[in-house]
Symmetry: T
Subunit: 155 residues, 12 copies
Amino acid sequence: MVAVKSPLNDEALKIAGDALQGSLVDLIDLSLLAKQAHWNLTGRNFKVVHEHLDEIVALARSGQDDVAERAVAIGVNPDGRARTVADRTSLSQLEAGYLADDKVVAALTEVLAQIIARFRERITATDEADPVSQDLLISIAAQLEKQHWMFQAQV
Amino acid sequence: MVAVKSPLNDEALKIAGDALQGSLVDLIDLSLLAKQAHWNLTGRNFKVVHEHLDEIVALARSGQDDVAERAVAIGVNPDGRARTVADRTSLSQLEAGYLADDKVVAALTEVLAQIIARFRERITATDEADPVSQDLLISIAAQLEKQHWMFQAQV
Amino acid sequence: MVAVKSPLNDEALKIAGDALQGSLVDLIDLSLLAKQAHWNLTGRNFKVVHEHLDEIVALARSGQDDVAERAVAIGVNPDGRARTVADRTSLSQLEAGYLADDKVVAALTEVLAQIIARFRERITATDEADPVSQDLLISIAAQLEKQHWMFQAQV
Amino acid sequence: MVAVKSPLNDEALKIAGDALQGSLVDLIDLSLLAKQAHWNLTGRNFKVVHEHLDEIVALARSGQDDVAERAVAIGVNPDGRARTVADRTSLSQLEAGYLADDKVVAALTEVLAQIIARFRERITATDEADPVSQDLLISIAAQLEKQHWMFQAQV
Amino acid sequence: MVAVKSPLNDEALKIAGDALQGSLVDLIDLSLLAKQAHWNLTGRNFKVVHEHLDEIVALARSGQDDVAERAVAIGVNPDGRARTVADRTSLSQLEAGYLADDKVVAALTEVLAQIIARFRERITATDEADPVSQDLLISIAAQLEKQHWMFQAQV
Amino acid sequence: MVAVKSPLNDEALKIAGDALQGSLVDLIDLSLLAKQAHWNLTGRNFKVVHEHLDEIVALARSGQDDVAERAVAIGVNPDGRARTVADRTSLSQLEAGYLADDKVVAALTEVLAQIIARFRERITATDEADPVSQDLLISIAAQLEKQHWMFQAQV
Amino acid sequence: MVAVKSPLNDEALKIAGDALQGSLVDLIDLSLLAKQAHWNLTGRNFKVVHEHLDEIVALARSGQDDVAERAVAIGVNPDGRARTVADRTSLSQLEAGYLADDKVVAALTEVLAQIIARFRERITATDEADPVSQDLLISIAAQLEKQHWMFQAQV
Amino acid sequence: MVAVKSPLNDEALKIAGDALQGSLVDLIDLSLLAKQAHWNLTGRNFKVVHEHLDEIVALARSGQDDVAERAVAIGVNPDGRARTVADRTSLSQLEAGYLADDKVVAALTEVLAQIIARFRERITATDEADPVSQDLLISIAAQLEKQHWMFQAQV
Amino acid sequence: MVAVKSPLNDEALKIAGDALQGSLVDLIDLSLLAKQAHWNLTGRNFKVVHEHLDEIVALARSGQDDVAERAVAIGVNPDGRARTVADRTSLSQLEAGYLADDKVVAALTEVLAQIIARFRERITATDEADPVSQDLLISIAAQLEKQHWMFQAQV
Amino acid sequence: MVAVKSPLNDEALKIAGDALQGSLVDLIDLSLLAKQAHWNLTGRNFKVVHEHLDEIVALARSGQDDVAERAVAIGVNPDGRARTVADRTSLSQLEAGYLADDKVVAALTEVLAQIIARFRERITATDEADPVSQDLLISIAAQLEKQHWMFQAQV
Amino acid sequence: MVAVKSPLNDEALKIAGDALQGSLVDLIDLSLLAKQAHWNLTGRNFKVVHEHLDEIVALARSGQDDVAERAVAIGVNPDGRARTVADRTSLSQLEAGYLADDKVVAALTEVLAQIIARFRERITATDEADPVSQDLLISIAAQLEKQHWMFQAQV
Amino acid sequence: MVAVKSPLNDEALKIAGDALQGSLVDLIDLSLLAKQAHWNLTGRNFKVVHEHLDEIVALARSGQDDVAERAVAIGVNPDGRARTVADRTSLSQLEAGYLADDKVVAALTEVLAQIIARFRERITATDEADPVSQDLLISIAAQLEKQHWMFQAQV
């Protein structure tokens, strides 16, 4: 089986590959976590938050695909299997069972802030290594920061 | 926090709830597994299989949402968190790294067969307990069996 | 004037016809009741509940058409006239005048629970008599139970 | 619970409110009556009249929403409950059971003529009281008169 | 060449396979017959019946595809070749040449009644054997019975 | 440069022109004010009010274009420059910085009431002068009064 | 053959009927004239004016249909035959052969002004006779005056 | 003003130009005549024939544009003015006033037959002179003959 | 029952009618044959060929309708009944059961070549008899030859 | 009321906030100025420039929303009120009254050049401070420079 | 590698192949030339001509694909490589650098006339050889002649 | 004729201009080369590769337009004429005649790698000179690298 030939040198490849794989785990877990809240939500703001969470799912899913395909395009195999995500994620996890709307809003605000902090580091890290990957990370960060504001504004 | 009041009695609720939660884990892991193959695929049939896998992802994602919302609608909390999926899934897992197209086709054929066998059991189990949940499981099974045929036909 | 020739025998026809006519009255009154609340609503959650009620109206209207056309397709004349609905409905009615959002949410939760209980009985009743009508009742029940959960979750 | 503050003085409000509430009852009963005919129709022109009746339903339903929301916008609570419609409607009612196409065409022609006569009076009545409500009544009357012509042309 | 591995045991497979193959022949011949009438129609109701027949064609064509793909999905080869259809169909056939609209309406009413009777038997037969195939047959029967009413109503 | 030749006499032109120019300033400032609130909003109802405000912006922007193009069509130059709007607007202004959702709802209710009062006067004023301009003002007033009700209902 | 029963008395019918028939001739000839210019145009602004003329055609055609159907809806037979239009039109006619763009712009400005003057009279005439017809004439006049401005602005 | 330089020699231009100008008059008058019938129609088949006539209008209008633009593209000025159409048309004209549906069907059948006969001659005439114009005339003839069949089939 | 009056003389009618009826049988059998292969296909290229075959079905079905409606438009009754197609088709038939992808590609290449040869003859035959029918046959031949190339290219 | 917690440090926040607030004023005034010209335009190129100006309005409005939401997402309150825009804008202002097309083209070319110069400075300024905001400013600058070329090309 | 088997004999193949290959070179160069003008255009009519040129590009690109796929469908390999186009094109070439709008209009008029002359010859040449290819060339010629008129009209 | 005034200084202009012109030649030749392969392709994967190549064409064409319009927006005349492309391209060229699918996949992989290497250099070169042009080059490089991976994966 052929390996995809990378347009990057080894060092740049390592930096960009790590940034993309880390982003992949963040975004897959974000999508699972937002769906968990979407399903188990309760409270007076149920309908609005229920629908808002699906915007997060959509963002996280399209972001997943973009970072994973970017990884393989530069010659790094993305790993988005259930076990990998469960073991490597560093997002604060939700409890099982019903979730009150105000707690979900607070939890999403926190989780988005965690991911954003790591995206900011990855943007800095890839500046030299691969401006094409950096540009993708910037565009996802812009969306995450917009959603972070929207959740924070309703805390 | 209020629990959703179930239209089912306790026994029926247990049966239907187990069937739906089991389906949820199957379908989430199916979506992750199909994306993993979608990204790491190689081989002469790359383009076709790459796109075919996204049909599986779409089916698995819409199925997830339907079974999870059906669970909460009858008063059972669905659990689709990364840790839960990783620990409870019984699907054959993919290796990390590049995946040859013929192996992916064989793996999907096998994985779909595993899920279908469990859906068949759940359809039988829910016949008495909850015909509404059963009808949902039947409609998802129909799609899974159609995809199973399509992958099997190209082995 | 010709009567539509039924594919069912007389007993099955009676059972299925009663189930469908009963569902028709439930669904027409549900649509009128949800519109009444849609128009006279007040409260902080006005916008969300106002729009959510139109989803109920849409569900109830498409359900009406399906059960009524199913009735005539098996040779039973559906009756959805204003007088019939007013006289035969067993749904809890709304007061005239402004309606507070939390009371509307509670009222809809209650009304949906009433209709769902009757649909469950009709699904059991038609199992032998007419599986085609039963399948229609199951699909409407699935939507009603989903909406019931959504209203209940925000109580 | 707050009452909506009206942009109209009391006398104008009474006139416009009566015109809108009367129109609401007319239009709800028109929609129920057209659906009743839509379902129970027979005759050589079944297909065309069956579909034509749904244009009446669509017109009546969008008109209902507009007059009811206009009523509440000027501070009058619309009442579109089943009992209210059944008790206050002055439309000629349909028989139960199958309805021959030519009788339905004649019945609709008659019913539309009745409603149009009342809309003409309401348009005159609201000229001074509320030109905004009048403009809405004029636009609905235009559609009713167009449909009246179309049914009359096929008598 | 691989045979598709069936999720059903041999007996169930035989029952479901026969039901689906029989349905396939019915639906292909229905589509050919409706097109024949669509083209050779005459009479005052030409335009309406001409277009109505294309709804039958659309229903029959999408039904064909669904039953044939369901057959192969459970491991049975569907046979929809011209010779097979001509030899096995049991539908009343149309004369060559111009066809008057009232005769076509009567013929379609009759043909649909024949097919519906067989679908009702197949629904009963597959109840135990394969609820997934049964669900498909129920959904097609619902459409056929709706069309049967519509043609019968205009006789 | 040619002046557009007016279909109105001088007196009518003065009346209609003033009504349209006044409406233009109201609607431009309404769009700026609603955007200001859209961006700086906070509170539990953030998401709903944030999106509701964009409906106001859309209404105000399409209204602006209609009144300005109506003005020039009758031979009066509309003036919608920043300085003109800032100097001539009589709408209650918002504070800089974050804006709580309940205060925004109250502010919009008030601002819409102010504009509606002026539109009512302009509708009266243009009745004789220019029924074409009046009809435009009526249609915008209908939308403003609908929004006024919706904001007032959630105070 | 039945005559459509008018909702208007004889005098009002005469006034409204004349206004609508006059408008019909104006709008049919406007559409023919604009197409004539659309086809035979020359000059540096060919492309823009060529496309602009089709906006006039679209406006004139939808206006024709509206006034003619309004006429028959009130019981007056519209007459839009070629001979009628040719004999009764009072629009300034175009020469045969190529037409320079600046002359076309001037001609359209003039023709629109002629039609607008008559629409203004018809709006006044129908105010008492039939406010529903008047409202239609106002809405067409608004579009004609907008186009008149646009052509005049480029003279 | 420049004349468009023709790709044809003088003789061919004369033949093709005459064929196109003749077709233009036929198609404009067909559109006016079909609209006249569309508006003044009565009878049991009103709705179907009313809508069918608008298919003729659409066909005639798009045909007009194509033949006129083809004429000018080869350097011949099309003439579609009201006076020209009224004077040169050879179509059988409709009476003023109400038109019964069966008479309209017969009239359209006749009028289409007249136009088709002339298109057949023009197709023969342009075979040598201009195959590009011929191809356009063939495609319009195909549509006219299809409509001719449809009207004839319902006589 | 009226026969459709042909725009062709008897000899031309015979030639064009035979060409169209022959094409109808070819195209109906092509659609049945392509569906048979679509359902029973196996092999590594299953997915691509499976979907490609539906392009053939779509082409054959729209072609059927066009040639059959063209036949009746010139006064010849098309015959597309199952028995007629089975008896008169001259296409090479497929075996029952699974069909390997490379054999299907070869079979389609062969079948398309057979049909194309007959269309070429019909195009020549109708040149004098009916250029309108010829133009339709040319446009279908163009599509068949394009598909023939595409299948041949992958042999 | 909570302040949105910024992902930036204070210095970076100051730089990015100033860049975004400055851009907001530029873009709001650009939208008002382009609308002013859109409405008051005259000259032979009226239609083209009139429509071109609405492309500027669309660009400026979507840019406004993006920069203002970006500002609040990083914790800075955007200020887009009428008074703020009027006082802080540095764009060359338009005269009241009719505006000739060539002068408008020149004015827009000049105004766009002014804004572009400031965007270039802001892009440089935010390079270190906030690459996410910088990326937004770059994408808006790209559109502004494209429009600048298009206006300049027609001077 | 297999050659595509031609439905034409050798002589016909040579004639049709040459016609199609010649058309391919013409249409590729036309698309490149129109884009060159699209980008480098200046002058008062910049916006209109800039957009008009993209209609030429679209026409030329879809024409390219059609003639090239037609060539390979009859067994001739099309050659559309950069070197082939540059060496074989006989279109008048544009200068590098800015291009004034009136010169571009004149140049396009000239270039289209050149291509049309060759298409006319190819239409004649293929009449016997391949009526299917001829029909394609006629349809492209019709579009080219329409555009030729439009450019010529604005010279 | 006016030159477009650049927002860049001379040195930056030279760097950005060269990068954009070089990209233009690469992308035009890529589009011609991919079309050449699209047309002359053979082999078992014909259908998939044939369609995949059109994705390359679409990417290359939209990229062409963007880089050329970016060039002129900064004041540099793009040159995309056939002769320029043929003389300056450095892409490996395809042979004339049929092209086997595996060779085309290898050729595209190679050609994309060549272009990507040059885009990487241009991205570095424009970092200081013009971040707006750089951002465009990055976005095109991202798409080229994604396609490069997809072709390489199927080698």
